[in-house]
Structures are given as structure tokens and as C-alpha cells.
Subunit: 246 residues, 2 copies
């Protein structure tokens, strides 16, 4: 996964596998062989290292705890997201930029559907893993919010807008991701996430402009606010006057 | 705190104190006397019950764990929120309704500013408590989302919209709440939360019509022309500015 400033393209070949040390992969594979057989709680770190054929210290070189082996790629993905956001410049529209950052997380899941679905089922069953996942989601959300807070520093209500938009992006991403995981990783996860993020972009005003119809001036929108009970002719008069003035 | 279908009024007298058993209050008071003195981790349940002058079993009658004594009112507040949402009917505008539900949480904090500020400082220092808080926040968010999912059942993208709006409401509420807590509980928490929730209502299209200003002519019509793709909150800001000028 690249940390360049380019938006992550969904057709780009995933590069993550190449960089991972084989021993780390072996520990993850051993853990995910044992968890369904024995149950997560019943599987010990000793069981995992025995099956992987490595020493106990090797486990802790890669993973601080048993929970971390369930989510082996989140730290890397968080680092990638932080680097991606840090590599932004003024030209990047902020809401689009955090949507692109969220797509890095989706790509991590979509790289390995079988593993992602297996972990999703495990996480649903183990309260400790759900708590761990909440804390990871929170860190993604804070990374997005911190970036937006910086970009919105000059705005009135900048921190409020940053926090709300970050939360909306994460919720939209997770809504699409979880639908995909519940469907056993069938279907196009990227398209589902794009659609979900589109809702957030519309709500916060960065939706792509609809194609202009015929001779309509594409850049104009007319919003009419009228008092309840205002006669229609008054409204029409105001619209005509406004358009006439332009 | 009422579980009626009426929106929670911020001037309504808080009734929560009356219903709480004194022994439970004594345990909370003892815990919050000891935590600053000894540190959260170093304070044992035995220390707390000794200071409160009750037996160990009494503690567990009220609190499943030491963490729960730090957040003694969230279970009640979650139950109140669930009841409040369950008492909704078709006439309630869904986004306004979840905003009102979020105000129940604010009211719980604002009922006792000193305690809320003290807990905020403690929670910031203890990772285990932050994790606990995240799981509580998640439960509030799910309660709001479940209500919205039901209300949006007929909509295309109903669950997406429900999840995103619930997350936005919680983020806005927490942005205002945390500002208030950081300022040591000074200022009007309710007004800050109202303002924050107003941003969410605007983004999702349910902003209340601005109240007419004193000398405004009631029959006036305001027309705003804005760029296509301008975010809705910008449009509303323009409308507010225009109405302010009138």
C-alpha cells in the first residue's frame, strides 16, 4: 500500500503482502487455524507459537497481545492513513480527501476477503475483540478528524465540522464494509463504499455537480425560502427579481 | 428524567437524584474521593467499600466492576434513551427525534458538572476507562441508529442514512460536551449542544426555520442564489445572514 499523495486507486495492485515477514504471516495463519477449532478464549499464545513452529518471544516481537494477532494489519493501515493525509496539500478538497483515506481501510479488508470474513465472524462472538475493534475504529476516526480540523482551522465551527464529517465518513465506510462482510465477501466492496461515501459527500456539499440540462446555467442554484403562508405570486415575483438581477 | 414522548426540556428539574439508593451514591462518592488520592489503578474495590462503610457484596449489587462505578448513570441513561425513542410516533421528525434523544445524555452530564469534569479528567488518564467510554458511546450510537433504521425502513439506503446520521449526532453532541468538560463545566452546555446538533440537522435537511426577528415583516420572501454544489450548511449560513440583514 502506497503512502504517496495519490488517491488510492481501486484497480491498483495491492502490494502489502510482499512487505510482511513470513514469520508474522505464519503466526496469523496458525492463530486463525486454531481459533475456529478451539475457540478464541481457549486458544493460548503457546498454542499459536507451537503450531507456527516459533518461540514465544517471536510472537511478542510482532504482536503485543493475542488480540493484536486478530487485527494484524490495522497498525500498518493507520500509519498509511496518517502518511496519506500528511501528504495532502491545499488543492485536495478536504471531504474528498478523508473519503479517499477511508478507502485505504476498505482496501486492507478487500485484499483478503476470506480472512476478513473469518475475522468478522470471530469479532462478533468475542466481546473483547469488539472492544478492541471499537478502539481501532476510534483511532481511524481521530486521524480523519485531526486532518479536517487542520484544514478547517480558519472556519467558524471548524472542529465541530471536522468531528462530525469524520464520524460520518467512518460510519458510511463501516456500513458498506459490514454489509459486504455479512454477505461473505461477495460483491464489489469498493463500489459499495463509493456509494456510501457519496451520501456523506452530498450531505457535506462535495458531491460531484450533476450534469447541466440543456441551456441551464450549470453553476447556479436557486434556493427559495418563504414564510409559511406567503402567496405563490410573491414567491414567483422574488424568483423573477433575483434571476433578473443576476 | 422522564421517559414520556415529550422532548426533554432543558429547564425541567432533574429528577434522577431522588430515585438513586443512598448506598449506591455513597459508593460512587467514596470511589471519587479515593481515585484522585491514590490513583484509579491503585484503588481497590475493598478500599471503596471500606470508605463507604458497606460490604463487598453491596458493591457488586450495584456495579459489575470497578469501571462501572466511574460511569454510574450510563445504564439508566441508555434505558431512558431507548424508552424515549420507543415512545416516538410517526409525527416525530426522525432526525430531530434522535437529536432530542442525544440531549438526554447531555442532561445527565450537566446535572452534576463537578462530577462530570472530575470523571472526564480521570477518563483521559486511564486507557481502560477510555475503552469503556468508547463502548458506552457505541451503545448510544446503536440505539439512535436502530431507531432511525426503523423509521427509514422504506427508504433506499435507509440503513446507510441511519448509521451516518446517528454517528453525526453522536459526534456533534460529543464535540460540544467535551468542549464544555474541557472548560471545567463553565458556560451553557445545552446551548453548545443545540448549536452542534443544528449543524447535523442542517446537513441532513431538517434545520428548523429561523425564528422571525422582531421587526421582520411576516410576509417577506427571501431568495438565495448559490452555486450548484455549495454545501447545504453554506446555503443556510447565507439564509441566516440574509434574514439577519432584514
Amino acid at each position: 500500500m502506497s503512502t504517496s499523495s495519490a488517491a488510492p486507486g481501486r484497480d491498483e495492485k495491492a502490494e502489502a503482502g510482499a512487505a510482511k515477514p513470513p514469520m508474522r504471516d505464519a503466526l496469523v495463519a496458525a492463530a486463525f487455524q486454531l481459533f475456529p477449532e478451539r475457540g478464541y478464549e481457549q486458544t493460548t499464545i503457546d498454542d499459536i507459537v507451537a503450531l507456527a513452529g516459533v518461540g514465544r518471544r517471536s510472537f511478542f516481537r510482532y504482536f503485543p497481545s493475542k488480540e493484536d494477532v486478530v487485527f494484524p494489519d490495522h497498525e500498518r493501515c493507520l500509519a498509511d492513513m496518517t502518511a496519506f493525509l500528511a501528504a495532502s496539500d491545499e488543492e485536495h478538497e478536504p471531504v474528498l480527501r478523508v473519503c479517499d483515506a477511508a478507502r485505504l481501510v476498505l482496501r486492507m479488508y478487500a485484499e483478503n476477503p476470506t480472512f476478513s470474513v473469518q475475522r468478522y465472524r470471530l469479532t462478533k462472538k468475542v466481546p473483547g475483540l469488539r472492544a478492541y475493534e471499537l478502539s481501532v475504529v476510534w483511532r481511524y476516526e481521530r486521524a480523519l478528524a485531526e486532518y479536517l480540523r487542520e484544514r478547517f482551522a480558519g472556519r467558524r465551527d471548524g472542529t465541530l465540522q471536522a468531528d462530525v464529517i469524520a464520524a460520518a465518513v467512518v460510519a458510511a465506510h463501516n456500513n458498506a464494509l459490514r454489509s459486504w462482510l455479512r454477505s461473505d465477501g461477495q460483491g464489489d466492496a469498493s463500489a459499495a463504499v463509493d456509494h456510501a461515501l457519496g451520501f456523506v459527500q452530498t450531505a457535506f456539499g462535495t458531491a460531484p455537480a450533476p450534469a447541466p440540462a440543456g441551456d441551464e446555467k450549470p453553476e447556479d442554484v436557486v434556493v427559495v425560502v418563504s414564510r409559511r403562508g406567503a402567496p405563490l405570486w410573491r414567491v414567483v415575483q422574488e424568483i423573477e427579481a433575483t434571476l433578473g438581477r443576476d
